[in-house]
């Protein structure tokens, strides 16, 4: 296989470069068509906010696609001078490229180790290339195997366990308390930007209704309109507190707005009603003493940040196990690839020798014309078979040698074809 990965990632390349090199949905298909047409190669483009990578391969061409040619392609496609582009890009070939893709898909190369998005992004990139017709046997094999690596790492290690974003963690906590959301009321207090993402996650739970309270009635209406909620006037905050199941507070208030006493008074009419309070405002809006871990669970931004750090720390413990899976799958991939690639050649070689052996044996037995007993015939046949196996053992072993460089086995395959006249 001749595989080359050319691209850039967040570790070495600043975001403005990644933005310039990114392929959005409209650009991917033309780029894939251009790549496969221009270099007669298979191509997949992985473009995310953290990386832009081109995977180009050829199962049949003797030489790998050239790094300079791909830099030239990117330069023309994005209209960036080659001299500017070259220092930004890096490349990996064959074994290194396979290992890199496996590490990427296993989220070992991600900004947040263990994040689950990357596996889907790789899958989408592969499916897009499939639809564009730019994937052949080599990239099919690699990307299908990559999906297997992602699955194994996800299920066999704890690297993907938990969420690493504050908003997802907040929803995790809500799910620890509530089971169904169709009858739940979410109360949003304030209109801070920080709360937007969390509210988006909470709305995905499909609550019954969303109430929005803000000191500014205009802002409350705007936020409510944006999330399909109902604006509540600030002086009716206590009434809203009384009926809310999930409270998301994100005001910019310099002082806490809900003390323990105020909360208890507001909930006096339904003291056994369960509530989760997500106080992501700084300074905090709710008195932490409200939290009892039973009827009221309060999580502020410090709690969520601390838990985020703990989750990431716990994930890092699984990196070694995930790397071991990548190593194992990398070896397995090459074994399977060689078997698939060399299988037809070995079968042809064996069939050719078999036919020749049979022909020679028939001639020999015809000349001896029945002077051999059955036992002697079997001995002669066995000796010829042994000779055939010993002759073939060397070439087949050399071909399937796992340590042999990819270019070396390509030359060997060509040599075998020529030496034994096996044809294409």
């Amino acid at each position: 296989m001749n595989l080359l990965m050319v691209g850039c990632a967040f570790q070495q390349t600043p975001i403005h470069w990644r933005e310039r090199l990114a392929f959005d949905d409209a650009l991917v298909n033309p780029a894939l068509s251009e790549l496969s047409a221009r270099y007669a190669a298979e191509a997949v483009i992985l473009s995310t906010c953290n990386r832009v990578e081109l995977y180009v391969a050829s199962a049949s061409l003797p030489a790998p696609p050239d790094f300079d040619l791909l830099v030239e392609f990117l330069s023309e496609f994005h209209r960036i001078p080659v001299s500017d582009l070259r220092p930004v890009l890096s490349s990996r070939a064959d074994d290194e490229a396979v290992r890199h893709l496996f590490r990427v898909v296993a989220s070992l190369d991600s900004l947040v180790v263990g994040e689950s998005q990357i596996a889907n992004q790789v899958k989408r990139a592969y499916e897009t290339a499939q639809r564009a017709g730019s994937v052949g046997p080599a990239l099919h094999a690699i990307f299908q195997h990559a999906a297997r690596v992602a699955g194994r790492v996800r299920t066999e290690t704890g690297i993907c366990r938990g969420h690493a974003s504050v908003s997802s963690l907040a929803v995790d906590y809500v799910r620890q308390v509530f089971d169904h959301f169709g009858d739940k009321t979410i109360l949003v207090i304030g209109a801070g930007k920080m709360g937007e993402l969390t509210l988006r996650h909470l709305r995905a739970l499909r609550p019954w209704r969303v109430l929005v309270a803000n000191r500014s009635a205009e802002k409350a209406r705007a936020v409510a309109a944006g999330c399909g909620g109902v604006a509540v006037s600030w002086d009716k905050l206590d009434e809203a507190l009384a009926v809310a199941d999930i409270i998301l507070s994100t005001t910019g208030s310099a002082q806490p707005i809900v003390s323990r006493e105020r909360y208890q008074q507001a909930r006096a009419r339904s003291p056994d009603r369960r509530a989760v309070i997500l106080d992501i405002a700084v300074p905090r809006d709710f008195d932490p003493a409200i939290h009892d871990g039973d009827l009221v669970c309060l999580f502020n931004i410090d709690d969520l940040e601390r838990i985020r750090a703990q989750t990431l720390k716990a994930r890092r413990k699984h990196v070694q196990a995930a790397e071991a899976i990548v190593d194992e799958e990398q070896s397995r991939f090459w074994r399977e690839w060689r078997r698939r690639r060399d299988g037809p050649l070995i079968a042809r070689l064996t069939a050719d020798f078999e036919a020749k052996r049979q022909a020679i044996l028939q001639q020999l037995f015809a000349k001896l014309n029945g002077r051999l007993s059955e036992q002697e015939r079997a001995l002669v046949e066995g000796a010829f078979r042994l000779l055939q196996n010993q002759i073939l053992h060397g070439p087949i072993s050399a071909l399937t040698d796992e340590g042999a460089p990819e270019g070396g086995t390509h030359t060997l395959r060509e040599a075998l074809r020529h030496l034994f006249r096996l044809g294409e």
């Binding site: 299920t155 066999e156 704890g158 366990r161 938990g162 969420h163 963690l169 995790d172 906590y173 799910r175 620890q176 308390v177 509530f178 089971d179 169904h180 003291p271 056994d272 369960r274 939290h291 009892d292 871990g293 039973d294 009827l295 669970c297 999580f299 709690d303 601390r306 838990i307 703990q310 989750t311 716990a314």
Partner: protein, 272 residues
């Protein structure tokens, strides 16, 4: 022969529990399948064991084995229904505990009854069976309430300490556990009440009533009913935190164990 069979399905449940515990530490997709297979095999053997002989549900041995069987079904249902949640680690120890408890009892078939001939039964014998069946079904509710309460307390403790939700085993939500507990109590309390009333009427007809009323099984059952009445009352009339109700349910379960471990006065004395 019976003992071997009890050990056989007990061992199957024990292996299933072992697999569940391993799955908590090193999760692998195949483990769930292995655990469920062992539990299913155990339940099949358990069912055959119960079907092969007439049930003497009033005896300690058979009532405990029967209760364990219903809880094993509850475990399988829960495992299929609450996938990827720590379920077996809570229910299977209860099943195994009841099986272990049953092994300590005398297995004589005093008061044995062919359930298929139930319709033909008349008089006190019928009421005795009704009394035992109602109390056993109530016991199922108590056990389910115990499991949900235990999980509730652990979940509430984790939330109180604001522990990372993804680390450690996954539990059902507080709301779900509370609903499970509530349903168990709502199911168990009327059954328990009816069972106690029938038992009271049976004892009242017997000579030497005073001695029967002080029997540990009777005292345990009445205490169990009182605790359940308290839980029922608190749940429906007062605003009590879920944690307190969970603790009371656990007390009720302890009384159930005490009652199960005590021999039945009517069975010991023989039906009149």
């Amino acid at each position: 022969m019976n003992r071997i069979t009890v050990l056989c399905f007990g061992a199957s449940y024990a292996v299933a529990l072992g697999v569940e515990l391993v799955e908590l530490l090193w999760p692998r997709p195949v483990q769930r399948l292995i655990g469920l297979s062992f539990a299913t095999a155990g339940l099949a053997a358990h069912t055959l064991f119960l079907a092969a002989q007439p049930l003497a549900l009033a005896t300690q041995f058979w009532s405990t084995i029967f209760l364990a069987w219903i809880l094993a079904i509850f475990y399988l249902y829960g495992s299929l229904h609450h996938r990827r949640r720590a379920w077996g680690v809570f229910v299977l120890p209860l099943v195994l505990g009841l099986i272990a408890l049953s092994l300590t009892f005398d297995r004589r078939n005093g008061g044995s009854v062919d359930l298929w001939g139930l319709l033909a039964i008349r008089g006190e014998r019928f009421w005795l069976i009704a009394h035992v069946m109602l109390l056993l079904l109530a016991a199922v509710g108590v056990c389910v309430g115990f499991v949900s309460s235990l999980m509730y307390l652990i979940q509430a403790r984790r939330l109180r300490a604001k522990k990372v939700p993804a680390l450690g085993f996954r539990l059902l939500s507080l709301e779900r556990l509370e609903a499970m507990n509530r349903r168990a109590i709502v199911l168990a309390f009327p059954l328990l009440t009816a069972g106690v009333l029938i038992g009271t009427a049976l004892i009242a007809q017997r000579p030497g009533q005073f001695r029967d009323w002080t029997d540990p099984k009777i005292v345990g059952t009445i205490a169990l009913w009182l605790v359940f009445a308290l839980v029922f009352f608190l749940r429906h009339t007062r605003q009590v935190a879920g944690r307190q109700l969970a603790l009371l349910t656990i007390v009720a379960f302890a009384l159930l164990l005490f009652t199960l471990a005590s021999s039945h006065p009517i069975v010991l004395g023989g039906p009149r």
